[in-house]
Symmetry: C2
Subunit: 435 residues, 2 copies
């Protein structure tokens, strides 16, 4: 049952601003109706009778927001990152598309999605933007499973009316009508699990479909997610499919699905040209889902995150399961820092060996994975007063430090070394969902 008023006791770490962590040592966070009422060194008199979850000696961090992942791909994570046999075809042809076509079978979907949701629970993630498949029943099932576990999420029935394989392809009419039927099914069904329009990417969706989806997005006020400028081949393909574009992003923007009318989460954004960068910085409801491990793995590239942030573009982190092999945003955060170091070394420092270090700090990466992505839901991703309480409790005892450490150091160790064994409890929207 949801308690309307309670407190968490422990040491809190969060990033209201990306520049630095704030630590609240051995304190009480009071939660009222799902939101942070305040953090106090001692429990105030007025609250002395409320229930206190005692996590003394533990670190408590905001829940993380995974802004891009493919739930059906969890079943075959960690495969095909390094295809050595050319006869196997591409990763899409050999793994992604054949496996996604199996979600027409609701039994398979239940088995695979249950496993995904169970394992997602054992991470620091509390909410995310999820791609399902083209299948309406399986997508609805995924939403049910997420809602049952208490997750907050946007979930998309994927749209694909071209360039797929038989069994994973809709006609344009089907794709539109199934999307509408799905929205009718789910739009008001779950409190915290909501639909997101999900044209897979331009090569998968005809102009006619994109036009219809853009209209639905505006009419029903549904946010959108898609892929943008993930690879050089893909960008060329988009130019072939839609001659006359100055940048790939225009292929979404012309259909009102680039953060002009409704929020739009664009995954990857590794190779923006100047036109795209400029367009992105002007679209205030657009958010980049930065997926560093996936980008390294698929193309060796790194999205220019520091540049996006400087230009005021919103950025969150994404695992891009199964473009990466992990659901852990702690790992993705570490990858984001390493990727920014590589980008800096191979660009700015390449031009000037004495170039000032210009890389993501750990607090910036932490911000991206919490408050950065959380902005899609409003006041989410930090423990500031009034924010929705998403929290994860971490136990560092397994890491057995031999020395006294600062909170910053303890947190860095947890980010770099901890795994599912170290997660003690999880709260979403002020409700304990794990532990």
């Amino acid at each position: 049952m949801k308690e309307s008023l309670f407190a968490l006791k422990g040491t809190f770490a969060h990033t209201p601003k990306p520049e630095s962590f704030i630590f609240e040592e051995d304190s009480y966070l009071v939660c009222h109706q799902g939101r942070v009422e305040g953090i106090y060194p001692e429990l105030p008199k007025a609250y002395e009778n409320i229930h206190v979850y005692d996590f003394s000696d533990k670190l408590i961090i905001p829940g993380m927001c995974d802004m891009h992942l493919h739930a059906p791909q969890y079943a075959y994570r960690g495969i095909g990152m390094n295809i050595e046999n050319p006869e196997w075809g591409t990763w899409f042809e050999r793994y992604a598309f054949p496996d996604e076509s199996r979600y027409a079978d609701l039994d398979y979907a239940r088995l695979a999605y249950t496993r995904f949701v169970d394992d997602w629970m054992k991470t620091t993630t509390t909410r995310g933007c999820i791609y399902a498949t083209i299948h309406r029943p399986a997508t609805l099932l995924l939403m049910e499973l997420l809602a049952d576990r208490g997750f907050a999420a946007y979930v998309g029935k994927v749209n694909m009316d071209r360039n797929s394989i038989p069994g994973l392809l809709e006609t344009t009419e089907e794709s539109i009508s199934e999307t509408l039927a799905w929205l009718d099914d789910c739009q008001d069904r779950f409190a915290e699990v909501k639909p997101m329009l999900t044209p897979r990417y331009t090569p998968s969706c005809s102009d006619e479909l994109m036009e219809a989806l853009g209209a639905i997005a505006i009419e029903r006020n549904i946010p959108v997610q898609s892929h943008l400028s993930e690879g050089l081949d893909e960008i060329e393909w988009v130019y072939e499919l839609k001659p006359g574009l100055s940048c790939y992003g225009q292929a979404y923007d012309m259909y009102h699905m680039f953060g002009s009318d409704v929020p739009a989460v664009m995954a990857h954004c590794v190779y923006p040209n100047d036109c795209e960068f400029d367009l992105m910085s002007r679209r205030k409801q657009l958010m980049v889902a930065h997926c560093p491990q996936s980008n390294f793995s698929s193309s060796g590239g790194v999205a220019p995150v520091k540049r996006y942030l400087k230009a005021g573009v919103q950025v969150g982190l994404g695992s891009d399961m199964a473009g990466s092999n992990t659901l852990s945003l702690l790992r993705i955060m570490a990858d984001a820092v390493l990727a920014s170091k590589a980008l800096w070394a191979f660009t700015e420092r390449k031009m000037d060996p004495y170039a000032k270090r210009n890389v993501l700090s750990l607090s910036e990466a932490f911000y991206l994975s919490t408050k950065g992505g959380g902005a899609l839901w409003g006041d989410v991703g930090s423990f500031e007063d009034g924010f929705l309480l998403d929290a994860v409790v971490l136990d560092e005892s397994r890491l057995k430090d031999l020395n006294e450490r600062s909170f910053y150091e303890r947190l860095e160790r947890l980010i770099l070394l901890s795994d599912d064994r170290d997660i003690v409890a999880k709260f979403i929207n002020g409700r304990q969902v794990y532990g």
Copy 2:
């Protein structure tokens, strides 16, 4: 007790050549006096009474060789990868040097090294090249602990007679005499744990010390390990300390510690100039310890591994604990592949968007971590006839695949997804040491 004749039953995966994996499905590996006698689909008649370790349904891989790690740094792994407060100084000043100075205390050393050795056991690594500290008793203790557990290793008492902190600095005379005393203590003491001369790097060792160590190396026939071209600042510093060099490597080569007279393992080798590259390719007893995670983290750079291999330079993989935060060579292998993709994307493909993909394959990375590094010990790192039997048994049941997979796919998943929980047993030199 060591059995002189036994068999392992299971599915074997190894890389006699870097180009591809060889899988021996559901077979028997016969081990005689610590070496692979052969792999058979059925147990030959002559062996029908020997003990068979039954690992049916498990994958068995060669033990891995960690060619560069600092055992004393394990205690504070995962800290200071991202120093945000300039007042803290460098990673060396804040963490590495103060912590290493604590190994003057044998009680602290015992606590920390026991933890390291215990946790190293829970990895796929069976042998390695380890830096201890400058302290002779603690170095000897580490060697004892490793020998007790059955590891094969080269261990170095570190030499440092300049540019360190008080408490972690020897006089030149001390450094030489302690090195000789240590060699007297350990050179013939352990069957599989051997000494390696370890001038930390040029900035830590005066010319006089280097000259003495080079003479000792030749006189006693002791291999050498050190750091080379890890960072741009370091390379400049070496040029300042030793004016007139054409490349950093010469600072080792002029003292016979660059693979001319005795084997030499050089860690990192990220930024070779043409002179260094040429010198490396001519020194046939030189091996590069490639440490991709550490290099990303410290400088954002990637060692040109494909170039080294093409030029015939020996290469192994190193965790560089605690320049990285992991002892897992499975993780380092994955990092090596990602790093090679970034290097390719930011160099060859930057020049030519249509450049042929030129990255480390998974089998190449596997080869580096097994037979590549293993070459330092001779016939080590694969299951070819006559090779020393180092083997690790992996259980994939926790990964719960929903589909039938090829052996290649099963192995890729284990490399990318498994952790200490999935390691069932370990053999070193034909002796079970774990599980």
